[in-house]
């Protein structure tokens, strides 16, 4: 996206389109990635309730995956997961990149 000059933007930092957070890919901040295991997940949805960035994807009351464009890797989902071993494991992005 081409960044605009100071005469081309609304004043005071206002963003004229509502719901614009979807365009902001906070996933680029991530150090640890939550890796979800569909085999061990019991679909209790605790992670979905707790995620501060609405990044746990669900369909028909079941977890289907994680939105890595917006997940910033805070680890709350993994912390809250009641399964042992946890159905969401936090892994270093740098390790994943090496694999």
């Amino acid at each position: 996206m081409k960044e605009r000059g100071w005469t081309e933007i609304p004043p005071g930092g206002i963003i004229e389109e509502a719901g614009n957070a979807v365009a902001y890919e906070t996933g680029s901040w991530r150090t640890y990635r939550p890796v979800w295991d569909s085999e061990t997940c019991i679909h209790c949805l605790r992670c979905w309730v707790a995620c501060p960035d609405s990044s746990i994807e669900i369909a028909d009351g079941k977890v289907t995956g994680i939105d890595y464009d917006h997940c910033k890797g805070c680890g709350i989902c993994s912390f809250e997961c009641p399964v042992d071993p946890k159905a969401i494991q936090m892994k270093l992005e740098t390790d994943i990149a090496k694999e």
Binding site: W6, P10, P11, G12, G13, I15, E16, E17, A18
Partner: protein, 399 residues
């Protein structure tokens, strides 16, 4: 011919009267000496049903400015008032109000900042926030505090400006002293300020916008440049509105007032209530044949440097009065601006800075005479080494 509405009011009550006539949608209120009586009076107007403003009583000045920001973001006309440490406590949000381009108007009753604790007048409070992005209008007397408050609404809300405005007047000296002044009729004020339609409202669900988002390396710089542009438009707007106000009231306003300055050899630059005393001294010196003059700054932000440099053109020596200190800097805030304004004009004018009146220390006719007397040597010999002087100070270095 219009019949003047004569009033006898203190600076605080005059400003509360202006606020009653403006009838802002929202006023946020927290008391601090010497602003307290202003809000007492305004709260009385609200309680008596003389104005239908939503008065929001908050628990601190930080909240007073925050609530004003919230109200203005919703598109309301929002005002608050404060002084000294109260202004210091709202500091964070003072910047935010300007950055979000919210046209809040705030009377500030000038008082010394602690410590040691002091409730009397100096300009350390508003001078300290001269770089917050607010327009600052200084008042010489209660009449000007009243007039500036009304004009501030239209300046702040002007689409080319869209910046908050501080209207300042000296604590106790003006805030608690009764003066005869002329008020406008309620209907005149109402018509003259008109209604305010904010371009954006945080409560407009039909056309929602985001206010206050994170603004990092990519756009923050551009938004600051926009604020600069609003400030650059402000001088012409302040002047136009000052003229229009003159047509309404018979009292025109400019960015500064040049009092007997045109052929003045000895010029004093000041702002606030001391200008009234200085005019008395200028008149007296003129009678004795000394070419004395005063440049009274009304708009300190924006600072009209080219016009001020021109107005000081004939001076052989300039004494700049500062009612605050800029610690570690070469002189007080007004002094530095005047020196900067004259830089590059090719004129070598001797300039001395008189720091005076801190913590409410009296500034008498004799003190101002001392300041003028000091200028004669400066005119002969140029800017001296001891060009930062402390007028009215006891002990070494005081004059």
């Amino acid at each position: 011919m219009r019949v003047a509405r004569r009033l006898i009011l203190t600076g605080n009550d005059a400003t509360a009267e202006a606020m009653r006539q403006i009838a802002p949608d929202v006023v946020t209120c927290f008391p601090i000496t010497p602003q307290t009586e202003l809000m007492h009076k305004f709260a009385e107007h609200v309680a008596d049903g003389d104005v239908d403003t939503e008065l929001v009583l908050v628990e601190s000045e930080h909240s007073a400015m925050s609530a004003a920001v919230g109200a203005a973001a919703a598109g309301a006309r929002a005002m608050t008032a404060t002084a000294a440490n109260g202004l210091a406590l709202m500091w964070e949000i003072v910047y935010i109000a300007a950055s979000y381009r919210l046209p809040i108007v705030m009377p500030v009753v000038n008082r010394a900042l602690s410590g040691p604790i002091n409730i009397h007048c100096d300009h350390s409070d508003t001078m300290g926030c001269r770089d917050t992005g607010w327009i600052q209008l200084y008042s010489e007397n209660a009449q000007e505090a009243y007039d500036n408050t009304i004009q501030a609404l239209r300046i702040a809300e002007h689409p080319d400006v869209l910046l908050p405005v501080m209207v300042t007047f000296d604590g106790f000296i003006l805030s608690h002293t009764a003066e005869i002044l002329e008020g406008l009729e309620d209907a005149e004020v109402k018509d003259w300020i008109g209604t305010y339609e904010a371009k954006y409202s945080i409560l407009n669900t039909d056309d929602p916008v985001t206010m206050g988002p994170l603004d990092l390396q990519d756009y923050y710089f551009e938004h600051k440049r926009q604020q600069v542009e609003g400030m650059r438009h402000a001088p012409a707007v302040i002047r136009d509105i000052g003229r229009a106000y003159g047509e309404l009231s018979g009292r025109s306003y400019d960015l500064f007032e040049a009092y007997r300055l045109e052929d003045a050899e000895f010029a004093v630059v000041a702002l606030g209530s001391t200008c009234g005393t200085t005019k008395v001294v200028v008149d007296e010196l003129r009678e004795q044949g000394t070419k004395a003059g005063l440049l009274k700054i009304r708009s300190f932000r924006p600072f009209p440097e080219a016009e001020i440099a021109e107005a000081l053109g004939n001076a052989k020596a300039i004494g700049v009065l500062d009612r605050s200190i800029s610690f570690g800097a070469p002189g007080g805030p007004v002094h530095k601006e005047i020196k900067a304004a004259l830089y590059g004009t090719g004129r070598e004018i001797g300039i001395v800075n008189y720091i005076y009146g801190l913590g409410g220390r009296d500034m008498s006719v004799n003190d101002i005479k001392t300041a003028f007397a000091g200028l004669e040597k400066v005119a002969r010999e140029g800017t001296p080494d001891d060009n930062i002087r402390f007028l009215g100070l006891r002990g070494e270095g005081g004059v």
